[in-house]
């Protein structure tokens, strides 16, 4: 089911991801089905069955084994991918840390879905937010195009010698994964030239230099140093993500950085969001700006690493900021994860905006224009009055 090259197509997000995987053409894919990620594995399996990829497909018996096999393969010099979501990501949890700790460049689309209980198959970001401290780079996508583009760039970012970290590409369950989007595909050749070959200084399948992967650090104690270096790699990834984004723009015409802005040149109040919700919010921002209301918007692409410095620079002059979070931290009133991090980024700053949090869309609750409008009016009021009415707001509850 090869798609025609370099053309505008209508695809659901999961097929866009599978198409990116076909073009990346990994040496090994080990994956396990889970709603709403299943179509990625199915479509890719069909591609493998038709001989469109060189990939060794490992149909494992769980997500735990999926990530384990990815680790075993990546440590052998192979280019490796898997895909998951929600409970599957949660089952991988301990291995996420092992993948990043062993500095293995694995690329994994995660189709954001709520974590049980109650069991719910729809979108929120609680699954990937649970993995925020696992040492993976996390890139959000707003639509199928971005999911596709992010996967191609993720290969370059994860395999960069200054980084060597696994990358999670996030796309919203159903909203992106199952909705048809208009998007552009690149030619296979272009993608292949862009990603190049994987070159790895250490692999287990180098007979001249046998390699020991994952030795025990119990007695001599370099664990601390390893972990500090991991943080260094994450810091390095700021530059690499931006460089790869610029290079990608040259071949695709689509620009990528750590985040994307709208109306920031004169904004007095700003909304920050990630994932598909950014599209709905952008619509409202544009409507308000056309009525002369000085609102701006930041769509966060890179949650890990978190671009605190750049966000502070961009936001310290505005009156008010509202962070939209599609997950909660259950910290007892601290708000959602993006809110907490942004708020903490401003701690040393003398000049800072009022910051408020909107938690929305848990378990796939729709983010309607009406809800966004309601929130925008409140933020506008906050900016005008100079007072935060409520720090953490739950948007669109039935209760």
């Amino acid at each position: 089911m090869a798609l025609l090259e370099s053309k505008t197509v209508a695809l659901v997000g999961n097929d866009a991801v599978a198409e990116a995987m076909r073009q990346v053409n990994p040496d090994v894919v080990a994956a396990y089905p889970i709603t709403p990620q299943t179509d990625i594995v199915q479509t890719f399996s069909a591609m493998a069955a038709d001989g469109l990829v060189k990939t060794e497909l490992v149909n494992v018996e769980s997500e735990h084994s999926a990530m384990s096999a990815c680790i075993g393969a990546a440590a052998s010099g192979a280019r490796v991918m898997t895909a998951t979501c929600s409970q599957g990501l949660a089952l991988m949890w301990e291995l996420l840390y092992i993948a990043s700790g062993l500095r293995l460049p694995i690329v994994m689309p995660n189709v954001n879905r709520a974590l049980s209980a109650p069991i719910n198959i729809h979108c929120d970001h609680g699954d990937s937010m649970g993995a925020r401290d696992s040492g993976w780079i996390q890139l959000f996508s707003e639509n199928a195009q971005e999911a596709y583009d992010n996967i191609i760039q993720a290969v370059r970012i994860s395999e960069h010698p200054d980084v060597y970290l696994p990358v999670m590409v996030l796309l919203d369950g159903f909203i992106i994964s199952h909705a048809v989007d208009r998007m552009d595909l690149m030619e296979d050749e272009k993608v292949r030239n862009f990603i190049g070959e994987r070159s790895e200084p250490y692999t287990m399948l180098d007979s001249k230099n046998p390699t020991c992967v994952g030795p025990f650090d119990g007695l001599y104690g370099y664990f601390f140093e390893f972990k500090r270096q991991q943080e260094e790699a994450m810091k390095n990834s700021f530059q690499v993500i931006q460089d790869v984004g610029k290079e990608f723009e040259k071949i695709s015409g689509r620009s990528y950085g750590l985040f994307q802005t709208l109306g920031m040149e004169d904004a007095e109040f700003v909304v920050i969001a990630q994932g598909s919700g950014a599209g709905t919010i952008r619509h409202q921002v544009e409507c308000m700006r056309s009525s002369g209301i000085p609102v701006g918007m930041i769509k966060l692409r890179s949650f890990r690493p978190f671009p605190a410095k750049q966000l502070v620079e961009l936001l310290s002059g505005v009156k008010a900021v509202a962070v939209f979070d599609r997950s909660d931290t259950f910290a007892g009133g601290m708000g959602g994860p993006v809110f907490i991090e942004l708020r903490s980024s401003f701690y040393e700053q003398e000049k800072k905006p009022l910051i408020t949090n909107y938690i929305y869309g848990l378990g796939g609750r729709d983010l309607s224009i009406a809800l966004v409008k309601q929130a925008m009016q409140e933020i506008h009021e906050m900016a005008s009055s100079g007072r935060v009415k409520q720090m953490v707001n739950y948007l669109g509850l039935k209760e």
Partner: protein, 312 residues
């Protein structure tokens, strides 16, 4: 392939000396015997789950393995190595690797019978070509002697202690080799480090198998079993002679008893040497002791039947 000592002595040691396993430990003996069965003209990748063998042979920045090696987690040595094997097949097919590789996992009974069973089953079903070796010392020894589903009934462990109301572990062990054989893989076997030539021969067959192979090898632990460290091989031999650890293989579905026991020794001879069973030799636990002997008899008969050694 030869199993003569003079030939085996010339083979390259994969597990080098200098590791930190206990003196008298059965596990490195098992590893060396198994790797004596590896072909000379292949490269190896060794994998361990978390356990004694892992923590004692790869203490950073030292490493006792004369081959590539990976440790990932506790319950996933099989799936981790399946990824390596898949990478090998992919890269080999693409012409990026010239050498022939074989893949060997050494897991303890905790990492194999219990927490790693799902990953092992997945690998066996998917048919990855690897030799999976369970070095079985019948408890979680790395964490300090806790019961596993490989622990023999009646044994004291720190989580199945004997006391006023208990004679130690109350359940019979799981038949893991039978479970593995039920996956219909090319080769599965039980072995004991006391029967080294049998181990090497079985390892040779396991390496030759074009698919997954499995060896469950008894490797006594004197710390956990409570006996003097110089008796490790003797204990392993007595386990065979008392029929508590039958030696057999299942080759392409055909069961074969590899060590016949003409005169079965009483189980007591084996149990009496081990502190973990000392509490069984009291009046209070006579019944329990009897039930263990009955279990061993029953299980031996079952193996004899499967191996076509009885007329029934």
């Amino acid at each position: 392939m030869s199993t003569k000592l003079k030939d085996l002595a010339k083979k390259r040691e994969i597990l080098e000396s200098g590791h930190r396993m206990c003196a008298g430990c059965g596990a490195p003996v098992a590893v060396r015997q198994i790797l004596m069965g590896a072909p000379d003209d292949v490269e190896l990748v060794i994998a361990n789950p978390t356990g004694c063998l892992e923590v004692s042979t790869t203490i950073y920045p030292f490493n006792s393995w004369n081959a590539s090696y990976i440790h990932c987690g506790f319950e996933n040595v099989a799936s981790t190595l399946s990824g390596t094997e898949a990478a090998y097949r992919s890269l080999k097919r693409q012409g990026k690797i010239e050498e022939d590789y074989r893949f060997v996992a050494f897991g303890g009974d905790g990492g194999t019978y219990d927490i790693g069973l799902q990953a092992l089953s997945g690998v066996l079903e998917r048919g990855h070509r690897m030799v999976y070796v369970c070095y079985n010392n019948e408890a979680y020894m790395n964490t300090g002697i806790q019961r596993s589903s490989a622990t023999l009934k009646g044994a004291w462990t720190t989580t199945s202690p004997h006391g006023k109301e208990s004679f130690g572990k109350t359940e019979n062990r799981k038949d893991l080799t039978g479970i593995v054989a039920a996956h219909n893989i090319p080769y599965a076997a039980q072995a004991s480090i006391s029967h080294w030539r049998d181990v090497v021969r079985k390892a040779q067959k396991a390496f030759e198998a074009d698919g997954p192979s499995f060896i469950n090898i008894l490797a006594p632990c004197h710390r956990g079993w409570r006996y003097p460290m110089e008796q490790t091989i003797e204990l392993a031999r007595l386990a065979v002679q008392t029929c508590v650890w039958p030696l057999y293989e299942v080759e392409n579905g055909v069961w074969n008893l590899t060590t016949k026991v003409k005169k079965k020794k009483p189980l007591e001879e084996y149990l009496k040497l081990q502190g973990r069973f000392a509490h069984l030799f009291t009046e209070q636990n006579q019944e329990a002791l009897q039930s263990i002997q009955e279990y061993v008899d029953r299980d031996w008969e079952r193996i004899l039947r499967l191996c076509g050694e009885t007329e029934e």
